[in-house]
Subunit: 422 residues, 2 copies
């Protein structure tokens, strides 16, 4: 009988001493493993090295419009990438702004713009008790931005279909609620994709605040691990059907397509929102790094090239995910102390350990040389009310390391659960 | 007798008909010239093409610390460029933040941070009647940023030594005055360098507002046209002597060293200010484009390499400046209707035409196919009280075009003055 919850005290003690022996053995290996952040590995980045050489004297400096990309100008990016990101985000090219190397930076700037200039109802910074909805578990850096700007963070729990829309629909009746963070496809950290129903209800929201905005961070739009990827409904089309096109800001980037630190980011919005965004950007910069944009346009000339690139990434990433999932299944499948997501894309696996032990699991792993995202990080204010969720990022270590890391993680999960049960 | 102010009516009419004939001749050439912005020419950018190939598979992706620059991280930039920009700005490397492609963006973000989080005295955005000092003529994009954020722009007139410090010292007694824009070396558009005395008085300011900051945009720090360049006193050293090190934010970039749109920008500040800046940046981004930083570090490994590069730029720019200055001297030197700066570096010549005719001069030039910076642009709210200043940017056209452009400009200056006098 492997179900820990059905074991008697003697059985638990015996199991604990066996698990502890294995843990001590792993401890003695003095491992050094990092599963803390969704960082691509060298292998993935090496797939894109040709991009670095795509702009030089021989290949020329001009984009298709004939503009020399080395000089100033072109506040909203080059046409080639507007088209490509438009296809990725499912909006017309002219509704896209192509920026620098970081979509997080574009999100931060958009929230900052809300604070100082607002989105049609005066600056958020001059309004009282402003709040932001945070589907949890979610992306810690999203929550960090709105916390930095003084929003109260309101957790909305994730269901199997996406954020709990009953809760969202209720919460947006409060006009101090100004927005919601979403990672709609292969969500961080759940690895799940919002259902059509969730996207439709999201696009149909009628918030009390006219300056409420959905921050739709489609970071993993094309990041399938398998040929048959998840399908995400086009939120902008749904917004249009509801006369709600100003409701959503969309974001994406090539951080996990080309280079995490040296990719290209983009945002898209309705014509009305774009006008507001550009009225900031025209003061903020004379233009983004168009040379890096041109490198990307030449390396990824169309969606077919982009998809081919993602297939190559998937070949590297898939065995890592499968390795973790297989170990989780082998060690924890029958223990009744843990559950986990089985993503078909993205960068994360979300693991739910025995309640009240997530912090302890991270501590045990850390002692044995493995860095995990701190327990609680995917929740507003870093507080997981059940102390149960752990975000696993299998992308950075090698497959060999991943196997060791998953073994250690599972042992730690069992160790902590047994401590608690005893 | 060439002095227009001493001519009688008949002489003026005769001169006007001769000038008009020349203008009509130029008009018939259907010129297409651009002296509107400080944009480097292709020749200048071509000098830097090797930078584009400085990071690739063969040359490697690691900076001196061993970090793979393609991945996430390194919020404040790579060490090599902190050192280089530290030397350019005259501060220790650890006080430098190396960013993206635009120092204007760093300035905008710093003002935005003042608005939402302030610099030790609460957010500027929550304070009433905030004001910003704008040495005029100055850089229109500086003024634009503070206008965008709702500051009242207070003009401070430029003297031969820099901003009128008597006025500045008086104005900062008002605690609603929060900062001043400065381009201290080869200033935009005057092309002059602040005297030691001005820098010392600037560094010794004791503003009523403890959150007052000098925005010291040292955009042309190394941009000499001649072997003997202007010397700018180190403001940070002077601030230190006065216990005033939190008074100043310093900025610079390689926009006019490598590529205008694809260079690297940096800012520097006191340890106390740095702490505040980094507390924003850690939420704003996971890091700048370190690959582009590494390209720059390899292309410009030290100050000697940087200075050599600037000498090459000067060889291209110097004849353009001299061409304009020579034409100004030939056509306008004895007319008593115009004066102009004779910069030894930077990107601009500032021309003062007969009062009340600057707009008309731009209009005449525009009709004949030449774009100039709109008259008034270098003044707060775009309003030159004397309608006399014109910013000349000789960098972008070829030497051949420059000669034609200067000829047309001088004819237009004479044309407009004669219209006014008649």
């Amino acid at each position: 009988m492997a179900d820990y919850l059905r074991m008697n005290s003697d059985e638990l003690k015996k199991e604990f001493s066996s698990v502890k022996a294995k843990y001590d053995e792993l401890l003695s290996l003095k491992l050094s493993l990092d599963m803390s952040r969704g960082k691509p590995n060298f292998d993935n980045m090496d797939l894109c090295d040709d991009a670095l050489c795509a702009v030089n004297r021989e290949k020329g400096f001009k984009d298709l419009s004939g503009t020399d990309c080395r000089n100033y100008g072109g506040m909203d990016g080059i046409a080639e990438l507007k088209s490509l990101f438009g296809e990725v985000l499912g909006v017309p090219a002219e509704q896209v702004i192509v920026g620098g190397n970081s979509s997080l930076n574009m999100m931060f700037d958009t929230v900052a713009q809300g604070m100082t200039h607002g989105f049609g109802a005066g600056p958020w910074g001059l309004q009282k008790n402003i709040k932001f909805l945070c589907p949890a578990p979610g992306y810690d850096r999203h929550f960090g931005i709105t916390e930095h700007f003084g929003f109260e963070l309101i957790p909305v729990y994730m269901t199997a279909e996406g954020p709990d829309m009953d809760a969202v629909e209720e919460l947006v009746k409060d006009e101090t609620v100004k927005g919601i963070w979403c990672v709609p496809k292969y969500s961080n950290p759940e690895g799940m994709t919002y259902s059509d129903n969730v996207v439709r209800r999201m696009a149909a929201l009628k918030p009390a605040a006219c300056d409420f905005r959905i921050f739709w961070d489609n970071a993993y739009a094309v990041h399938d691990l398998y040929d048959e990827g998840d399908c995400l409904l086009n939120i902008y089309d749904e917004c249009l059907k509801n006369g709600n096109e100003d409701l959503v800001f969309m974001f994406t980037s090539t951080s996990k397509i080309t280079f995490p630190g040296a990719g290209v980011a983009a945002q898209a919005a309705s014509p009305n929102n774009l006008k507001m965004l550009k009225n900031r950007i025209k003061y903020q910069t004379i233009g983004p790094d168009k040379v890096n944009q041109l490198r990307h346009a030449r390396f990824l000339p169309d969606m077919a090239a982009l998809k081919l690139q993602m297939k190559k990434h998937a070949e590297i990433l898939r065995p890592k995910f499968e390795s973790v999932l297989s170990e989780l299944n082998n060690q924890l499948g029958d223990k009744n102390i843990a559950s986990w997501s089985k993503p078909r894309g993205g960068y994360f696996i979300s693991l739910y350990v025995y309640e009240g032990t997530a912090k302890r699991v991270c501590e045990l792993c850390s002692k044995a040389g493995m860095v995990l995202t701190p327990a609680g990080a995917p929740f507003p204010y870093g507080k997981d009310p059940k102390d149960s969720n752990i975000r696993i990022a299998p992308s950075y270590p090698s497959v060999e390391e991943i196997k060791k890391a998953a073994e250690l993680l599972c042992i730690a999960v069992r160790y902590a659960a047994l401590e608690k049960l005893l």
